[in-house]
């Protein structure tokens, strides 16, 4: 299977750092990812592994004193890490939109929901017309599009809901409104940061269905950040498992789920409860590591049941594993583990 479409978004060796009192923390450490049109990529890992930081880096919204210290982010081949603030603002919300975790705190409490959706259209001049004082119909055109998007994301009685405030919405409706803000400008890429974590299970399923529909109908590529491997397995066609700022395993969803190679991925899979199966959930022992004091070598080695002494040394590359070869979208199924190279120390 070859994928002829050129990559929409490419992260090349992306490194994002935050200076702290105990030294510089690499929240994202040399991440490589490729996203093509219509793909859904899942970015999975425990809290604090850097998955949300990847999304914020893509949008250039890392809050100071954090910064992108290295690597490139290519949007349709153009490096967007070097853009000016103004050029970057033209991309935010238009080419790349983001959905956040907690819908209530993400909507501005002081403005009407409809106006918040309309703002996206106005900021990017999506309904162009004659210049300012002469364009009487602009608001009406924008409002029409807002109602269209609200219906598209399944907000019933959009006309009345346009004039409601965020606190008058239910959690699910708030998340739909947020998705509507994201979709208003028909972005090429949707970044979703734990979009269902704050919602009830039934609402979760509806939101996931909605995102799948958006993906299928408009070919919007999606990066879904989640700590829920089960959700990612169901929704994404590619998975990248992150640990301590690095990708430890990446590949097509089927490969990663059916044939996990990294001990961390295996551990995550053992944490997923299955309906109808009487099996104890086995948590991964230990805690998420402190990024300021990472061990040498494999960051997972202190918690790894397969760890040997040599795991503490050197740097391990992502190695091709599995059967689907390098064509699987992100260079095939690869994992970063010494176990996969028969405990040989890398050269140098």
């Amino acid at each position: 299977m070859t994928d002829p479409s050129p990559p929409l978004l490419e992260l090349r060796n992306l490194t994002t750092v935050f200076p702290t009192r105990r030294g510089e923390v690499r929240a994202v450490d040399g991440v490589n990812l490729t996203l093509r049109k219509g793909q859904i990529l899942g970015l999975v890992g425990e809290s604090g592994c850097g998955k949300s930081t990847v999304l914020l880096s893509i949008l250039g919204l890392i809050s100071r004193p954090g910064r992108i210290a290295g690597g490139r982010i290519l949007l349709e081949g153009r490096d967007i890490t070097r853009l000016s603030g103004r050029e970057m603002r033209r991309i935010r919300g238009k080419d790349i939109a983001m959905i956040f975790q907690d819908p209530l705190s993400t909507l501005n409490p002081a403005f009407l929901v409809g106006e918040q959706i309309r703002e996206s259209l106005r900021l990017h001049n999506m309904m162009p017309g004659p210049p300012w004082p002469f364009d009487r119909g602009r608001k009406a055109r924008e409002k029409k599009r807002v109602l269209e998007v609200m219906e598209q994301v399944g907000i019933p009685a959009a006309d009345a809901r346009y004039k409601a405030y965020p606190h008058e919405f239910s959690g699910g409706m708030q998340q739909r409104a947020l998705i509507a803000i994201g979709l208003a400008c028909r972005p090429k890429i949707l970044l979703a940061d734990e979009p269902t974590t704050a919602l009830d299970v039934t609402i979760q399923a509806q939101i996931i269905d909605l995102m799948r529909r958006i993906n299928q109908e408009h070919g919007t590529a999606i990066i879904l950040v989640t700590h829920d491997l089960g959700l990612a397995a169901e929704f994404c066609d590619h998975l990248a498992v992150m640990y301590a700022g690095r990708i430890v395993e990446i590949g097509s969803t089927d490969e990663v789920i059916e044939n996990p190679q990294h001990p961390y991925t295996m551990g995550l899979l053992r944490c997923i409860p299955t309906v109808g199966e009487r099996r104890a959930i086995e948590p991964i022992p230990g805690n998420v590591p402190d990024l300021a004091t990472l061990p040498q070598g494999c960051a997972f080695s202190p918690r790894c049941e397969y760890a040997r002494e040599v795991c503490n040394q050197g740097f391990f590359r992502l190695q091709p594993v599995g059967t689907d070869g390098p064509a699987g979208g992100n260079g095939g199924h690869r994992a970063r583990c010494l176990r996969l190279s028969d405990y040989r120390l890398p050269e140098g």
Binding site: L59, L61, G85, R86, R89, R90, I91, R92, G93, K94, A97, M98, F100, D102, S105, T106, L107, N108, P109, A110, F111, E119, S120, L123, H124, Y165, H167, L178, I181
Partner: protein, 336 residues
Amino acid sequence: MRLVKVVERLLAAIPIMLGVAIIVFVFMRLTPGDPVDIMMGQGGAVSEGEIERLRSEFNLDKPIHVQLGLFLADLARGDLGNSFSKQQPVAKLIGERLPATIELAFGALLFGLLIAFPVGILSAVRQNSLLDRLSMGGAFLGISMPAFWLGIILILIFSVNLKWLPVQGRIDYDANLQEVTGLYVLDSILTGNRTALVSSLKHLILPSISLGAAVAAIVARVLRSSLLEILRSDYIRLARAKGAGEPRVVLVHALRNALIPTVTVVGLQVGVLLGGNMIVETVFGWPGLGRLVVEAIFNRDFPLVQGAVMVYAFTFVAASLVVDILYTYLNPKIEL
């Protein structure tokens, strides 16, 4: 429906005002010092009969609950009584002085807000910058400097040395201003009197700065801290993710929400400005309510003090009502 609630709130103010009336009435009579003694002391030798006559004229010979009843009965008819020391209706005396106090309070508020908003916003946006440190240091000074001291320093610099601005009073004698509302700046505009406008504005500048410095400092600090908190919130991140520029993020998305705590503080300051500026009025020879009240307290002029306190209480009630109404516009979750 908002109007109905406003009327409800105004009606709810009646028991508050009644409580204030009773408390000030009782406390004035508990303070040592007798109004008739004080008046007679100024008049020299007087007979017992004269004193008795005055006491009965002011109803001071009756039991306190009878006096209170008479006071409240007058109050219900809108009559604040007659001043003991000035022999004139209290309402008239207050009416003459109130516009000066309102004009000064407005000037001080305007100065305070004109300083507080840019300073508060810029120091929040550039947190920990030199500008932030300087303006927060300045705010600390603004809060700790006594207004009378600042007033004297300003008079020294701008009136005595530079001779740019007048030392005291509200307007020059030769301005020939025809009073309409008693607010001289407004009256000058209404009557088209350019000389009077310039003169009244010049007189207003220094007292407004002396009184408004503390307002500027307090409001700037509140605005800065609430903006700082809001700028870290999720909806600000969304505004940026939508592609909004920083000015829009700060001035539209953040400021609207930061105004909620700020408006509370400004409302309280309005009450303070209208009620507590006797010192600045004295420094600048400003013929406002504050000086009238201080005199009235020294003279144990019960009706005048009672009337003035009623006015102060009403301004606080009105200011908090205005704040609550503004709240409903700023925060849609709040209803009156």
